[in-house]
Symmetry: D3
């Protein structure tokens, strides 16, 4: 039976389905009765849930963040929908179709990955080819690359977001590179393919999106460079001839792609290739973030609210069809 | 007879040709004899010139910056070429083939302008079309647009540079826009065509490149917006229906295209179109500046000197053919 | 009958008067009954309003921001006054004495405008005179100039505030200029008269204070300069001789009067006149803001709360009579 | 006999007068002969001096900075005047009319000091009066106050400059205060009188202008506050009743008058009086610096060179008589 | 009878003890009954208090911040403990053992002060000795020095905190100085002893921690320097020979110890001693703040929340025993 | 025969020894004769050298930077010593006692390395021990660690400087750690030992000090982290159990030890250990730089010149013996 999505729930209906529950709190009413407040969510939205006549036992059984089967009903309270929970039981993760609960790219992951492989498949330089191949053959990593989000917020913050962002950037680069023939295009393409690879380690996205410990302490830029260095050393240990100047130029692109010290780049761009990858990253991230902010702004005002990371309110009225 | 270019002059030859002279100074030797030091240049380079046994009269006749016919010879002094001037006479500008003396785009100006017109010729929105047409019909302005440099230094700092930069950006935009279909591409194209139009007023480039008084006091960003506003008011005065929201969106793109207050933009980008134009401007300017810096660095070091406006030394070794 | 001002309402009285209503929301009580929460305000203050036993029809009839006739009563709830609304009906704007609802300068607008005209009436330079006259003859604009606020917050944020601020600055300039005789005082006076003229376009103040679309996208600095440019072009088109150097110097004062790129000035001051106008603007704005903050701080503490735009808590104890 | 000022020296005349000599260096010509290069100056200017056929003894006798009687002649070398020194002998400071050698205000010091005393003589608050009187009675300090420069460069950098700057500011304040009647004008006047008093200790100006050790390590802001504190403690020790809140408010004005942490103010303004003193300080300093920069720019260009402390090139063409 | 500390109160017990009350507010319930909400605290924590069936008289009797004897009971409301107050009466401060109500160092104040005196007792330079002795003999000041907090928040923000921080720094300096024998260690030791002495005037800590008026307007850095200057002048007035260069070097250390203009230092370090004191201050403050933040973070997450003054979330998992 | 050091050369003596030559330039005199200008140096200083009557062949034979045997004499020219070169021949590096030509620590390298090994020899945690051991066993790397400079300028910029700096920091840490017992001291010690290890790759110091290509593009912070990561992976590949949390905490210390993004740290400190290592690094670097600047300042002024990297002029007068 198909999952009843949060954004399909109307007021006053029966609920009998699996949802993600988070941040449960045990409270008492003014009369002293215990109840549990919690969030009930899936990938389409999040509602308040209330379980009246709760007990400490039920509360202790609830995960801080996890899947439960909820029986109850929807109602309107203070102008907003909420879920009144009559009965709740924990559901093991393996019984859950995760895709229903975590936001996910609208695009086809397989197709995007094929697109990526097609573009990087045209690279010729032996060192670039060897390093890229080493990544492609790391099946575990490629699986994460295809499913990881590109960020916890701001842009492409959903499953498959990293792949979508990387794939877009590769296509934009392919379109732009012909106008700058003096560039070493293979460094640009390899740099883009790898630039955010460390996000597979920086971010956690099994249940909700967050940062891993190593992600917080090292950051995806350094994690990516470590991966590239490790692959190159592995190749050398296997006797493959590697031009370390080429590897370092790619590592430099990765280190410099945030473009400013304040944004976590320990080195500023020193090659045309590094400048270009930084700009294309910015274009793809900003076009996405502006588009999403405009799409998600409630109401019909011509202006969105202030977006701190864009330092702007956005004007969203279409003037030209 | 063809002009003998500065970069063709060898040591120990006779000189009998027109050059641009600048910054002449009258000095006396330790023995009390007067001589004149000056720069002698054309579009291919600049040398020191020395006129021994000079008089105050000759000095007073020399322009601070202008064309002169020089007779004399070349010699090496302290490891560098210089021109020993035996005789000098002023040449009226109209007798001079200006192109030999000012740096100039390598590309074909007519072809680039045709390319620009072709791209903006596809615009459909009535307001956009009317405003663009008003600019195209301003023949005086279009002449300047085709010949003005894009800057006094850093990038595209030669005759035709503004057109070359604008034309490149339009082509890059055309290549990138298909990946972001939600954008109002006509605003992007119109915004790029107009974004630096005020440089025709900000910069002086009759003889050498500099800033006009109004350029220094107002800046090309504000000058461009004034032009757009003036054209729109003229159209309205003629009874043409103009959607001022469209005009203001284009003016906003122009105001915001430097992306930061510190770079002279009085407004930060508030639309996807304004963000994109700023990034494409950056890509084209930086790719040009990096390329030129690498090409012009003397010696064979793998690194250029520190470039302040890029906050970097550049690595210029080609690693991939 | 005189309007019963918000700051005159005591607890427990009958209400039967016109107020501005804003941000109405339809909610349901825990028992499921609908009610409407809203703000009820005039120029002296704002209270919470509650209409119990409301219907969707009543809610739909209410403007998001507009005038209504309210019948009901005042009561204390959680230590604060609120209005219980029994009956509400929409009132057309033309039936309303707007002055009762929007904050307004305490000074006499006619007298201030006469004062301004008197000061600028002493200007002699033909170009300055012509441009100023063109502004004075734009009756539509002068009407807005007399009534517009100088800001939406911080200082002079009430009807007539722009005129009051401009008039104060002109008087301060007249007092200070004799100490700096080398300045071109006419540029200072003209620069001050015009410096914020674009606020008539940047701000909306028909009902509540906000920014217009063009104000957000272009800003009053650029809008003011466009106005000056447009007037000068109109004069030239009429055959009036205009010294464009003078016009540009005034435009430069306007562009530079915020004194820093971060405050939206695309050019920093390059003339003594531009520096002085910036400082006088700052003096008048800050004296007003400090005075108002001190006056409006509730309680009897010697210190106000932290004011972000002043980067300070203010000490407000009078030490000297 | 009147001193022959540097700016009166023509080429080819005999020199026989006292000048300040500074930075003498002993050098040898290519042929091995010793000569001394030095600067020769008075308050009207500075020239290069050369003493050929010098000896180590003569060199050792010369002060690093001090007065000497020079016999020799003027000549033009490389387009500039220089002094050829035939004979040099040290002159004790007491034999020198110092005013000829150090730059000095054009205004009348006695009159300016009377003006200052007149303005502060109108103060009424007992604490303000007592503290001010304590300063006026410190004859040693007042003597320094009348003669000290206001800075080593930028503005009022000549003898009497501190008094001139303070006197100007008091007059500007008197002109501006009537427009802001809510201010405690006595704090403003006292604050201005005292604001830079510590410059008498921060700067050294016996021979050339520089910083004292304590000036470098503590700075005039802190030195001024120490003076005020010390005077107030002295008064209290004598049994005079002092309102310490008043003293602290004046000290706060002094600490905050640079307006920004980066400019050496350890506290930002927290009172209207502190804001106003900072702005008036800025007006007087900037009007002076802009005026002097324009006046001193050689040549006839409409623009001065870039002035770092003003962040600008200045436009100096008079447009209005 | 021992005080029942806030952190010892369990749900459902009788309360009959003295507590600090703060921020009382009179409110009415929906039914119109009056009640008082307030905070009830001692040095171990703070709880919400509710007095139902309150009257305006009881409310008016309550101090805004002060001691009261409370009779009532504890209960859980909305998952948190609160105090239901049945009866309340004001208690004069002198009847209260203040130590129970204000947070206080865990270390022994007498011992720390002895430790400090021991370290500074080894100083030999006559000026340093004389100035330090003058401070030690100011019994009033030393009493404050022993009891004042080092800050209102961030680090050592409890009674005795200033002494603890100063004592720690002296010990760290003693440990570090042997590795840098070229330093003038007596300046370092004297500088540390005095560096925050002005906090005794900057902070108020009789009842709760805050800033005095002079503290806000002058700041402890300037207040400390004033103290040193005043003591030195007193010594000189008594005929003690004082090397003002030594005093100024200590004052410089004090002025510069925040290391940056933005942190309130009007001078940056110019001596090795000033650099070192700044770093040791930072070490001791940061080690304390990091330690306390980690210790006080509720829950068992490996990460604390974001701490603004540290610009970081802190990782608090112990990895090594 | 002992090398004649540059700082031992007097005027007018015969030269017949090996020196480092750098930046040779071929020039012609006014009469057209060719000569070579060059720098002649060893670890004690650098002089100008001139070879008159030079030929292009001699010039082409000279290394841009390398060792030559010079025959000639010293003379004074323009108040400075220079070397007149009569004859020059290239010397292979292997024939040169390098220590005479490159500046070098005054301390005993063997003893310092033993000291370092002693301190890190006390570490107990298995992961820390294993990683450290892996570094110690990398003989090639340890050799570089003992000889590399810590910087190209500012502090410890001589052979052995990295070891000296690391060794000092370890000793300071050992002295300070007892005062902060809650810290994980083994992370501090391991972090210090490793923190600048990448400088062995970042810097080139075979002949003169500079940056390697990888050093410029990646930087020693990232290069160090790569080394640690590579060693940890090697250990894991050998089956050694490694606690990656411990490794990451050390890597975090390394990444964060510059303390600010602007100084090249891509992560700010998130642990007490990371804060402490950053401060100790700063103390040791600054004490060294201040000490050297004071020692090397020529003349007898109480103040050094302005040092950009310290943002200060330094006061260097000893006030206390």
């Amino acid at each position: 039976m198909a999952h009843l999505f949060i954004n399909e729930i109307k007021a006053g209906i029966r609920i009998d389905d699996i949802y993600m529950v988070s941040q449960p709190i045990l409270r008492s009413t003014t009369r002293g009765d215990l109840y549990i407040a919690m969030y009930v969510s899936d990938r389409t939205g999040k509602l308040n849930g209330r379980m009246w006549q709760a007990t400490e036992d039920v509360y202790n059984m609830l995960p801080k963040e996890g899947f439960v089967h909820i029986k109850g009903r929807s109602e309107v309270y203070q102008n907003a929908l909420q879920i009144v929970v009559d009965n709740v039981s924990v559901v093991p993760n393996e019984n859950v179709k995760l895709d229903d609960y975590l936001p996910r790219t609208n695009k086809n992951i397989g197709q995007m990955y094929a697109d990526v492989k097609n573009i990087i498949g045209q690279l010729q330089n032996p060192t670039v080819k060897a390093v890229i191949a080493e990544f492609l053959e790391d099946k575990e990593l490629m699986k994460k690359f295809c499913i990881a989000p590109a960020a916890t917020q701001n842009h492409h913050n959903y499953l498959g977001g990293l792949l979508e962002h990387t794939s877009n950037m590769l296509n934009v680069a392919n379109a732009v590179l012909p106008f700058y023939p003096e560039l070493q295009s293979e460094l640009v393409i390899a740099g883009i393919f790898l630039h955010d690879m460390g996000k597979t380690s920086e971010l956690s996205y099994g249940m909700a999106f967050g940062y891993t410990d190593s992600g917080q302490m090292l950051g995806h830029i350094v994690q990516t460079v470590m991966m590239v260095n490790s692959k190159a050393e592995t190749l050398q240990a296997r006797g493959v001839e590697i031009d370390m100047k080429v590897v370092q130029s790619i590592e430099h692109i990765i280190l410099a792609h945030h473009g400013q010290y304040d944004y976590g780049s320990p080195k500023l761009p020193m090659t045309a290739e590094a400048f270009l990858v930084g700009y294309i990253d910015n274009i793809d991230a900003k076009m996405k973030q502006v588009g999403d902010t405009i799409a998600n702004e409630p109401g019909d005002s011509d202006w969105t609210g202030y977006v701190r990371s864009l330092e702007a309110k956005l004007y969203r009225r279409k003037l030209i069809d």
